[in-house]
Subunit: 391 residues, 2 copies
Amino acid sequence: MSVTAAQGFVAAGVAAGIKSTGAKDVTVVVNDGPSKVAAGVFTTNRIEAAPVTWSREVASDGRVDAVILNSGGANACTGPEGFADTHRTAEHVAHALQATGRDVAPGDVAVCSTGLIGVRLPMDTLLDGADAAIAGLAPDGGDAAAEGIMTTDSTPKKAVAGRDGWVVGGMAKGAGMLAPGMATMLCVVTTDAQVDAATAKAALASAVAQTLNRVDSDGCMSTNDTVLLMASGASGAQPEASAFEAELTTVLADLSRQLVADAEGAAHDIAVTVERATSEAAAEAVARAITRSNLFKTAIFGNDPNWGRIISAAGTVPEHVAPYDATTIDVSVNGIQVCRNAGVGDDRDLVDLTGREVQVVVDLKAGDASATVWTNDLTHDYVHENSAYSS
Amino acid sequence: MSVTAAQGFVAAGVAAGIKSTGAKDVTVVVNDGPSKVAAGVFTTNRIEAAPVTWSREVASDGRVDAVILNSGGANACTGPEGFADTHRTAEHVAHALQATGRDVAPGDVAVCSTGLIGVRLPMDTLLDGADAAIAGLAPDGGDAAAEGIMTTDSTPKKAVAGRDGWVVGGMAKGAGMLAPGMATMLCVVTTDAQVDAATAKAALASAVAQTLNRVDSDGCMSTNDTVLLMASGASGAQPEASAFEAELTTVLADLSRQLVADAEGAAHDIAVTVERATSEAAAEAVARAITRSNLFKTAIFGNDPNWGRIISAAGTVPEHVAPYDATTIDVSVNGIQVCRNAGVGDDRDLVDLTGREVQVVVDLKAGDASATVWTNDLTHDYVHENSAYSS
């Protein structure tokens, strides 16, 4: 049900014809309230697509009434004309929703786009699609909505959690270009809990930091990454902030794992956990250095528990970032401690890498903090998809 | 002639049998003086191989009499036993050279190793190889020496430059794991110019920063990277420091280009030049962000001048590192300005990427500094070589 699992939301996803494949490419999600609280997290890439610039401003006052999302074109690097296209899209959606009896201002309509950079959107096709989606808005439209934002995704990503009469539900798309600063291109999460804008904003920032920002598929950061949280309050339940953040984190963690599992051309999903660091930031820095190593990622593709590549990647993190003794670190791969005290450990032939899931644990023996970063292996299919498919 | 182009040096490369292929795997280079000046630059990876620890200490007093290099094993992550192996190797070489009438102390013998991490070296084989190499030392042994350090290199890398009666000559090996902090695994440069230790050290640091450290094949930094400069003074010529540094830079630049041209599985050699930055460091940071992007590197493999991936990589560099206006940058690929003011420029179909050489120029319009970083595309062969070959 994704974004319509929560009460107070209607959604739709339609095939407008932006994509030549005939697949769904326009999604609309509307918050029918009673509350219209929202928060957003956006790419930190300085090359920012027009819809990001627009939606960041829309969400800045803590209110979003509706969001329109399109696949088939990112509307990035399209200049003032591209921004005008985004603005026009929001105006069009607001007026169309007004025609359905909803009191929606253009400045409360967020816009998200995904697809090729540097190409203008086919506006007539997009706006016709918006009309069709709005005509089809339904309380069970979440599944179609999740399909409408897919690009190279092989499956739609959806998740739901909740407790005590309120739920959090979401959808995401992304199968490459997953990197810190934001791990997904587009993600919309809804809830029928009653939360105020400050709580929503804090909970979203914290949940994203623990989940989507810990996914690093290929080290590349998109121009369009957006996570939008919308709260209707329709359940009447008013959870503690900690409970709300916990359920939101559950949904985003679930979506994050689905993104990793569907990353372009991947054969293994890899969780790199760094333990006993002096701080969580130190643990994360070491984990990220490992998940960024192409040599490590190709080794895993080759079912090779190459701990030398793991610790040499760990060794590139400066000491002031992650203090540890380089001569005492341990590395385990799928439960076998292949490296002990930075030297040869148990027999690497004992490591079974034939499954999809890979667990790498690096023990720094320096403190009591830990962090996990998720990535994928680097495969022939990754090279094929990203050399043959322009994005 | 590589390391024996300069007067005062003898060298040899032999097949000791460390490699199962029967290829040369042990090289010895000896400085017969009259001067024994030396300088070294070593990996900044905190996971440092035993020979790096040893040779850093050997070179720290500005004197190196001889260096032994082996391929077929990195002697990294081998613990105290591995360090004892390195020490024993230096002792053995010193004694063998003493038997030839040379007054060489073990503490003046540098040791370099390259190959698989985490495996002890076959010491009997190595030391027999050292004896054979020392028996074969010759003033024309530079070519064999360059062959003895190859691993996955398809060709030996050699370069010579000089003026006014003195020369600089060098050899290098490396075909992957080329990254900042040091771009080659092993490089030995010799000169018959008279230079003092301080001049040698400063010139080497500067030349490496401009050349080997600007090569970033796959973002991975080795545990064994070493550049060693040895000066015999045998020409009697005493060049200006600037002239010496210029010729040294020429040799290292030549070797750097050969390393890029032979990078594992590459189909394109890519030079990313960032112009009009506020500082050289800013230009280098932006260039490096682009050369690190797997999406950019796969696009080039696909002959796709995908400027969206170029500027989105540039956009990940924080503003305090590289100040520029993200809405005005230009990008050219092989002379065609495909991106103008962060938007669509000339027709991308005009870009010819069928050749091996690719020139990417990013104009930040923010200052007057520039920098170039060299890399390769990300190809099926890269994935194949690095998933099938353990290193």
